[in-house]
């Protein structure tokens, strides 16, 4: 099998395990066993477990944001409606069986030092999501697109935590109702 494919195989399995059980709780032995590769192969592709974690987070960021944007733009056409569709996309995610919170919030909990490369990647991910919301807010003609984006982003993060910690699957709808007020306010 091609090297690139092995690499993806490792990342994909590591992503599943890290997401479901956490980073420190998941050993490399478990990863190679699930990915059906040898330890040598893993260490050929990644210098250390930490490098693998970074690769996993980068892939997750890519997958998550692509999916978020694709779904949002599929569900609504007008910018204002797209801002609100964001909450529906989140709500659907909460209802998935494998939902286990936001991987980047989870990672920040385990790598809490703000200067830790993993934590930096998490902050970057959140910033990119905020950028996307700001772009939608601009298209919708918001008075202060950045402020609206930060507000909606805060609502989304609150909803994710609500859904994960308290198991409140309706958090997406609640956040959407709150978001509607803010969007109306920002667009009027």
């Amino acid at each position: 099998m091609a090297a690139a494919s092995k690499r993806e195989q490792i990342i994909d399995q590591a992503l599943k395990l890290f997401y479901q059980h956490g980073f420190n709780a998941t050993g490399v032995d478990k990863i190679i066993s699930e990915a059906r590769v040898s330890k040598k192969t893993l260490y050929n592709h990644f210098r250390s477990k930490n490098e693998l974690i970074l690769a996993v987070l980068r892939k997750r960021d890519e997958l998550f944001r692509n999916n978020m944007m694709r779904e949002t733009e599929r569900m609504a056409v007008q910018p204002r409606e797209r801002l609100l569709a964001l909450f529906d996309v989140m709500g659907n995610w909460f209802h998935e069986e494998t939902f286990s919170g936001c991987m980047f919030i989870n990672a920040s909990a385990e790598f809490s030092d703000l200067k830790d490369p993993c934590h930096i990647l998490c902050a970057e991910h959140k910033r990119l999501i905020c950028d996307y919301i700001e772009e939608l807010a601009k298209q919708a003609g918001a008075q202060d697109p950045l402020e609206l984006a930060k507000q909606l982003n805060l609502l989304i993060e609150g909803a994710i935590v609500n859904a994960h910690v308290e198991g409140d699957l309706e958090a997406g709808q609640r956040a959407k109702r709150m978001g509607e007020f803010l969007v109306d306010l920002a667009l009027k």
Copy 2:
């Protein structure tokens, strides 16, 4: 030294370490060394590391909510103002040097199974906080105190994540502005 005191000593040090570095990343050897007790003593008081974690979470819940209520009620007298003072209390917390996010959100990330005793305790903590906000909302004469409480709770959780993951210390103020809007709406 009295037994009860040793127990508290262990819990206090474990709390610091778990909060700063996470649960799985903190070994019992580190805890006993920092708490200056022998391993035997730790295992006399706690059946396992997991039991210690539960004890730590219970203590953190008690300390955190007591402080939250005390500070909120010290900062404002009128129920409406107390609802908003909650965000100031959070904002001040974010600015503390030792701030490392919400310990219960962090714990939920490492013990992601909803049926895990640790996760259950985290959900309970969040519910108790919501109960307190609901009580304030009732006193303020909100039309739907539970709904308002859930909304403000979501804002608080969003602000905590914002502050921790992105290092945005102004998240408390942003959440307060959003909260003001919702409180006005719920009281009119």
